[in-house]
Symmetry: D2
Subunit: 352 residues, 4 copies
Amino acid sequence: MAGNSFGTLFRITTFGESHGEALGGIIDGCLPGIELDFEKIQYEMSRRKPGQSAIVTQRKENDEVQFLSGIFEGKTTGTPIGFIIPNTNQKSEDYSHIKDNYRPSHADYVYEKKYGIRDYRGGGRSSARETASRVVGGAIAKQMLPEIKINAFVSSVGDIFIDKPYQDLDFSKIESNPVRCPDEKSAAKMEAYIKEIRKQGDTIGGTVTCVIQNVPVGLGEPVFDKLHAELGKAMLSINAVKGFEYGSGFCGAKMKGSEHNDLHNTDGTTQSNLSGGIQGGISNGMDIYFRVAFKPVATIMQEQETLDNQGNIVAMQGKGRHDPCVVPRAVPIVEAMAAMVLADYFLLNKIY
Amino acid sequence: MAGNSFGTLFRITTFGESHGEALGGIIDGCLPGIELDFEKIQYEMSRRKPGQSAIVTQRKENDEVQFLSGIFEGKTTGTPIGFIIPNTNQKSEDYSHIKDNYRPSHADYVYEKKYGIRDYRGGGRSSARETASRVVGGAIAKQMLPEIKINAFVSSVGDIFIDKPYQDLDFSKIESNPVRCPDEKSAAKMEAYIKEIRKQGDTIGGTVTCVIQNVPVGLGEPVFDKLHAELGKAMLSINAVKGFEYGSGFCGAKMKGSEHNDLHNTDGTTQSNLSGGIQGGISNGMDIYFRVAFKPVATIMQEQETLDNQGNIVAMQGKGRHDPCVVPRAVPIVEAMAAMVLADYFLLNKIY
Amino acid sequence: MAGNSFGTLFRITTFGESHGEALGGIIDGCLPGIELDFEKIQYEMSRRKPGQSAIVTQRKENDEVQFLSGIFEGKTTGTPIGFIIPNTNQKSEDYSHIKDNYRPSHADYVYEKKYGIRDYRGGGRSSARETASRVVGGAIAKQMLPEIKINAFVSSVGDIFIDKPYQDLDFSKIESNPVRCPDEKSAAKMEAYIKEIRKQGDTIGGTVTCVIQNVPVGLGEPVFDKLHAELGKAMLSINAVKGFEYGSGFCGAKMKGSEHNDLHNTDGTTQSNLSGGIQGGISNGMDIYFRVAFKPVATIMQEQETLDNQGNIVAMQGKGRHDPCVVPRAVPIVEAMAAMVLADYFLLNKIY
Amino acid sequence: MAGNSFGTLFRITTFGESHGEALGGIIDGCLPGIELDFEKIQYEMSRRKPGQSAIVTQRKENDEVQFLSGIFEGKTTGTPIGFIIPNTNQKSEDYSHIKDNYRPSHADYVYEKKYGIRDYRGGGRSSARETASRVVGGAIAKQMLPEIKINAFVSSVGDIFIDKPYQDLDFSKIESNPVRCPDEKSAAKMEAYIKEIRKQGDTIGGTVTCVIQNVPVGLGEPVFDKLHAELGKAMLSINAVKGFEYGSGFCGAKMKGSEHNDLHNTDGTTQSNLSGGIQGGISNGMDIYFRVAFKPVATIMQEQETLDNQGNIVAMQGKGRHDPCVVPRAVPIVEAMAAMVLADYFLLNKIY
């Protein structure tokens, strides 16, 4: 456990700082013979990249993936897939305002204390830019599992939330608005609210809901590597995530057993699905759904008190990229992590 | 990842079914030279065991741990600690009502589909009885980390919750009532409510809050093995858990950056602690706190429709042990998993 | 990597000291639905146990395995198989001659330096008694892979060696003599020689050859987890092993490519098999064969100079059990480790 | 265990085919604050690269390493070190003679059977070119452990071997001849012999001996992850390796205990060192030494019978790069793997 790998048989290892030469990674264990659709991979990258709409950071990143191995004549070969994502225009930036300061609610302080050294260019390794590599892994995992449907969407921004069950939503509308909220009314409110937040130089948190459909029975490894435990770890490893719940989640903690139990139909499906598609850590064939909480981005365009490395509190003004709400861009990352978890269990439980 | 191990350098592997000969496990990686207090270990067992109070299951289990290795003249030797917990009085029970039925919201159905065979005596491996082995591991982890304070308590049962921040609670009162709620008023309400639920033959969910104090800066392995990601996985691997949040959690998703950021003091501590003691996946020295959601126990003492293995829906009446609210007994399990996660990172990050 | 587990998907974790309460282990990942033949398991134990013949140690050990979980109505259930092997008559022994001494070429010195504490009863954890647990794991792995034939035998003792290729040997004769050498002439010589060594109060090394037949094409995970690399690690983890070679081995280092290359037949088999059934780390369907070197047992019944824990050199006389040649008893251990390696790759490469 | 990673806390993952865009890897877990000497890294690369002398393959490879992350202002930061080694002039080669053929004693056949697809450009992933990435990892591991001395050298080529103990050799002469043999007389004979082999269009095997000095007591994790077991696996994972022995090795199997035991001195060192610096899987502070057997390279410049993918035996003439003896170039690879094993145990056993 050196920290930069995820998964057992479908395994991604990532590298890269926000302002170094390049990000990248290695995907080890992808099944051979998969004809990759590179446009789909690049499409997922475009969903994550900054600058894609008026409500996210305007930092320009091209995020073009270059594959270096593991693919021959368009198909995966079963050998590790190495890839890089060059950092194109980050190098000339000015970090003088960060260099000696530990920005509040960033990882600057703990990195310096832990490692005794800090790459102060942007967030370095702790930057969410690292997730670009995850999106590559997820895009390939999705193509390894074409029958599985994974749909994530923004379910709340601040206090604005979709007040419908996911079954009443049309997932084809997720990409129809910059918020990635399939409920158009909520989407409009969220978009307006994010714009207001941006004007204030502030940021706002939100939640992403993810629904995984068409999952076979039997994925999951009790007792410690339960399917939802691994999904939870995957989500909690994404920058800014503060919470994870699946099925009934925290609401389930308020319920009675007589209300919560999912009665079976004769075909093994269940009438309700408060379990969230997983029993005892093993998929039961029903929809898996979960919700992920994102805190607001720590970098705000307001003056804040900040500790410097001399032990002084100084005033620091946020500069550069302002990402008022990271949640729309987190949607493809949530999907990517979910896809990689599923790919891993497909291999572990040999359902392929 | 065969499923029954947790941790990298401090690593527990467990075995055992609810009604087999014995449960047990192996703790690999405990530091040598630790003088074990066996009464403390047995005390943790007694906190988890059934039959300890009027509001939990009356099943009788002695849960006496027998250590078989790794300890010499009362001290750990650095070699693996093997232990067993004999199942004393489970064997004579009658399982005829379970044998051919897939109980709703239990793992019966998925185990049979996944493995093609099911140990129908009680929940078999999926029974929460497995967590007894975890409590042993946690009790030893706690003794390996004497300076760390880990306190979990029941923070809600159904709709009843403690409406104070944890800083206003007196942890020494946790064990003063059978609910393990340090707020006496809330505790009384919860206890009364659980008794009512028990009369109804029903069950109720709840939440456990855990606070970890005196943690050094630097525990955690970005980017995938963030400290809170591993804590989350640990908690989600406990039976009946549906959600995990740390620091501001799901509330944080409603907040603005200007509200959420934890400003530093000159000594590196922070004025607020919405981060929950972890930045970028690394402990920052502040209190770590998190909340875990437990669904209601699936076994209720009411008649329920149940699928049998012939594809028929039959009426099944709950029998035997009725555990109206598992949450008080979950408190030591939450602590145990937290202690083992911390022990693992202490070794990984060589803070000992 | 806490040290006491082996394998990824078929995974054994062992515990136990030579003179503690019990040895034991957990086998995690065995396929469900395997009808275990317990007599076969006990038979493998009897092949390893001391006191089985005139040429091995006369220490009495019953080595009866007690299974505690993972088996229901005689079949594996897919859940972890916990087992113990009680230490029956070791407790009353006298260790006063060992307690303060670091026996030459034993692990006494390094254990005390590494852990700061030593269980001086016998070899503690470093005793070869630990391999009893491996034999249990191997016996189960063998039953999981009934089609695979694994035959190990003693190929040399001291300077006496079988001067025939394994193809000319009748494996059914391995158990016909106490040396476990299928070549009767060599066996007689070896037996006589070991008896002579015993009289001298000395010990002697030897080699075990192992042949694995009926292996499918495709087992192995390049580039680091090559099949022979894992086999090598498995063998080198056995007490007293000093070397491992497969196929042409060290002889291959003297050969020319034109001699060494294995030319194909039209069905993919090869005319020669200097490769030893593995190409590029992947099984090619031909026989896998390898050879393992065991040094002589360090405990001799002669006076030797020994370091004590006060830094003095003292004379120490070997006492108690004298095992003049451990190699015959190593045969089932080599088979057990080989079986577990194969079981792991069968699961990893889903050939089942 | 997806196959392309090695190590637990100091962990390398590699990617790349012999004729793809680039090779590369990620080194995860290197200590922070290490001031890297890039010339030393490139020097190790030059020791491995083809075309370095008259006795190795004349294939031209520049093997220039480009670091992409994990290093800031010349120092390691504790974050993963990503690197690539572009394949510069491999792309224009002609593979028509390989494309449909399974070369004898190459991995062509097993890769195609295992994965159902084969990258036929050179050996693809099974090419020894992959070891270039390992040399990068080893060069960094060496710099993380400046006090440890690792010296590997060619100890035999065919039947020519150094007939002295390593203690009588001057390691500073290893690089004084193209064979990397510190014994000048043997070196001259070996060189002449390799030239003769080259003229014949043939290849020859050999052995590499490696000596590790200045190792602290206490590295190693019994019982499965013994230090020599991991070293053995590391060596056996190198292309063309057929055997590994440490300390007395296979010779030890011919010895008596009274000859083999290493008697202690009063300071804990031993008078002899047949144990090879490791007792019970744990380093004892004495020199660690081991020997690795390499078979002859399979590609010969002679006509050979070959199986094609239609099931026909055809005549195939070796073409292109002829590497008559790979052993001199294997020296830095052996050192690199040894350095990474040691780095891993330094972190696991926190000796830093």
